[in-house]
Symmetry: C2
Subunit: 522 residues, 2 copies
């Protein structure tokens, strides 16, 4: 955003604006310090007399449905990212908006992917005012270069997105929910159909709170579509397209096991740490992402579980074939899944009652009566940078470019033990730094960093230090590891150069502003 915003120092000592896309925002006050007040957002009361009694809400085209919703200048259009890089719907939506002469729309996706690069054209022409959400890849680079001039990128965790809609911070005018299978009433599921993506939990809050909801499918089945991950009673219109997603791109490209000896070593160290710390007990729970190292961790952990005859009560997904195997082999009672990363995850979700559909509400929403994240015994996550106080970054790279979303990362930090297994370098750039480029996770919530050069335990976790003291594991001070790495690469690297222009903000799980993302000087 080219305008200069008034900045204040928040409780983490980061400079943040108090006005974000025209809304007054609360600077981060410390973990658990912000007390919300007031009532949840409330959608308008509807009446069955305004909907076909036959239940048939099918419209002849996506354009017709958008027009029926009263699409007009300035509206906020939302979508979910369960199709990941295979989404075929949202570019069409904004092309149609352009055809209809509509301007200044806000796109509020749960995440944007490289397939959405064509939307840059609509940002340039003014059809899209700005994108309020996590911007991966080309759109992130576009924003980082200061080109998304009319609004800030607002990066929220999955739980934070639910919180923002639930609390009325973001009002959705039209939710477009692409669904692999649906009926004409609007009941929809992600676990079957040619574009099956497993579940639709990232679109659930949109269906509950948006003024207008359009379900778009390429697989219309007779009522009832069971399960109804999205309830037709919240849906206004149904649209049938030839194809809503490219199946081979829906499945995440990241679910490939690492072959790097360093990363395999890090994964094994992580599993061994979990065991040494006493976490590996009957009925325990864990979550690991779909990155190569996390997958390798799960495989090492499984080996340790088999050796010790230990069974988990639940595993939190993103699910992969590795987790599905553990469920089917009886190594866990449940997978509580937020998104499926491969076809085995989709199949298991469809077939196995122990593979449970969750949403950001159950798992992550900070403004609920608790959430599942705190119940996890251990979570294994990634990071682009970590500082010597265990603060971590997942959204910007060392060159300052905003290239990743937050996902569930912030939400997971509330588990009983948060471990970041990360390489000490990436492309000869040290990962442990004096100060993270962007603060996404406060160090007080990050317990352990595992690198190929040793394991650093947060001094605040004396219990973990005590438990692992005589384990034979290479437990070291984080400053020691950093010094060794810096020396190897010939000193800490040059920082990226930023202008004073803010191009985005990082929200904390409670809706407060944790950090700002600045335009990169190129």
């Amino acid at each position: 955003m080219e305008q200069t915003l008034d900045l204040v120092n928040n409780a983490a000592g980061r400079r943040v604006p108090t006005l974000v896309n025209g809304r007054q925002s609360v600077p981060f006050m410390g973990v658990g310090q912000y007390k919300p007040s007031g009532l949840k957002a409330a959608p308008p009361v509807k009446s069955c007399s305004d909907y076909p009694l036959s239940g048939d809400k099918v419209q002849p085209s996506l354009k017709a449905a958008l027009e029926k919703c009263g699409l007009k200048d300035g509206m906020t259009i939302s979508s979910h990212h369960h199709f990941r890089n295979g989404d075929l719907v949202m570019n069409q939506v904004f092309d149609l908006a352009a055809d209809l002469g509509v301007k200044d729309l806000v796109w509020f996706p749960s995440a944007a992917f490289p397939c959405h690069e064509p939307l840059i054209e609509h940002l340039e022409s003014g059809v899209i005012h700005h994108i309020e959400g996590s911007l991966n890849g080309p759109l992130g680079r576009y924003a980082s270069e200061g080109k998304m001039k009319k609004g800030l990128a607002v990066l929220r965790s999955h739980g934070g997105r639910w919180q923002a809609v639930q609390d009325g911070e973001v009002h959705i005018d039209i939710a477009v929910i692409a669904a692999p299978t649906a009926d004409s009433f609007g009941n929809a599921t992600g676990d079957r159909g040619p574009s099956a993506c497993g579940l639709l939990g990232f679109g659930l809050v949109d269906s509950l709170y948006a003024d207008h909801v359009i379900v778009v499918t390429d697989n219309l089945v007779p009522f009832p579509c069971v399960p109804w991950q999205i309830q037709g009673n919240n849906v206004d219109y149904v649209v049938v397209l030839d194809k809503v997603g490219e199946a081979d791109k829906i499945i995440s490209g990241t679910t490939r096991l690492t072959k790097s000896p360093d990363r395999l070593y890090i994964a094994e160290l992580t599993a061994n740490f979990v065991k040494a710390a006493g976490i590996l007990q009957d009925g325990f729970s864990f979550q690991a992402g779909a990155g190569g190292t996390a997958l390798a961790f799960a495989i090492y952990l499984k080996k340790l579980m088999l050796e010790a005859g230990i069974k988990a009560r639940f595993i939190r997904g993103g699910s992969t074939k590795y987790l599905v195997e553990m469920l089917e082999e009886g190594l866990t009672d449940y997978i509580l899944d937020g998104q499926t990363f491969d076809l085995e995850g989709v199949r298991s979700m469809r077939e196995n009652p122990g593979h449970v559909n969750t949403s950001p509400f159950t798992s992550y929403n900070w403004h609920g009566k608790g959430n599942f994240a705190g119940l996890l015994d251990v979570v294994v996550l990634g990071a682009t940078e970590v500082d010597v106080n265990f603060n971590a970054n997942v959204v910007t790279h060392s060159d300052g470019m905003m290239l990743h979303g937050i996902g569930g990362w912030q939400n997971c930090l509330f588990s009983k033990c948060t471990i970041l297994p990360i390489p000490a370098f990436r492309n000869r750039v040290p990962i442990i730094v004096d100060e993270v480029t962007t603060l996404v996770g406060p160090g007080e919530l990050i317990d352990v960093i595992v690198t190929e050069r040793g394991i650093a335990v947060n001094p605040a976790r004396q219990d973990l230090l005590d438990a692992t003291r005589n384990s034979g594991l290479p437990i070291r001070k984080i400053t020691e590891i950093k010094a060794e790495v810096d020396e190897l690469v010939g000193g800490a690297p040059q920082k990226p150069r930023f202008s004073d222009d803010i191009i985005g903000v990082v929200k904390w799980v409670d809706g407060t502003v944790l950090d700002s993302i600045f335009k990169v000087k190129t």
Copy 2:
């Protein structure tokens, strides 16, 4: 209520108050005529920082949980009726309220049963101000005799109860949700445990909108309780009691097949009518209640389906072993269930993914974006009286006593064909009358009356008259059947004598006031 209320004539020509328990109310305006406005009710925003991060919300006692909720004079306490006449929780709640010296509580159950007769004591002492809900049996008689002096009974359908909470007409301070199985986080299910009742859908709206939610269980399981029919993220406290329900009374006593030759004949006529009307087609759907005649209808219908090689797409429950058999024999793809009436229903709900948990939101709420009721091809319901214009009554008896709740009855009237199979007499009292004692269902929505003396088709349904003209079925004018019956019993019977005091109102599905219930002169 002893006070005399101002009455107006509504669109059905019934005298109704405009003030109901202190709230301005809209008189019935005609089916589909009332247009709601405004926003749905919104519960307060909560924060995880006010809940234990471990997820353990268990309180040492029900009393402790009520105190933590800030129980105080004038609050509204809600509960569901899935335990039917076996509920062991709600009498305890009000006994505790009495111990705590609290007064003027409003009880807002989804239905009251004879087991709740002890609450009369709390009505007398002022602990309970009034009961706002369907009052069956002793409590209904108590109210009909004008003894519930401080407030009106407000009779709502299952869908109407959801609408009333959703629209903010009834604000629940504390929801007490008895659950056959739960975890310490508050996730709860009805489909397993020693007090298994199948599902908890009638308590779902309470969990979503109440300020405070207490889950009470006698079967605490380790997190996660799967399925979570009630989401722990909406729950404040969990209480463990020795026993929450008497299993043998949880199962409905009404699910006994009729042995009356007249009723069996009526059931068979009804099934034959459905076939003759052309409704019995592959992929059709039906709903029949758990009364003896309705059960017999389902069995006759099954026979016709087998003969014709026809399969249903879905059956709406209340489920019974008869419907479960049809599901398991492949005669329907799905049972969409709102409550289980026997243990086979509970088992099937637990085991069969085709036996689907529904709620009043999906099935019945008129103030949603459609509901499932209109998608049903045919529904078979009971009635205490029907008039010559097909208006029907289900809440008062011919003696004027309010003895039944509405249940889903009103909501079901929106199916494509509504049939009431009823005996022409009960205890020598004719069921077809000139004017119903209490109007619960407008005649324009009731298509067919089936008696042992013939079938009356609503003249508005010329299509049904045409389809069945040459069927050989005894199709007759409703006035003819009435005249014949009246002559047999020696003239239309004397009407009950009412005072001018209103003791309750019947709400229509849209929240408007359809009729008043007057105090019976005794």
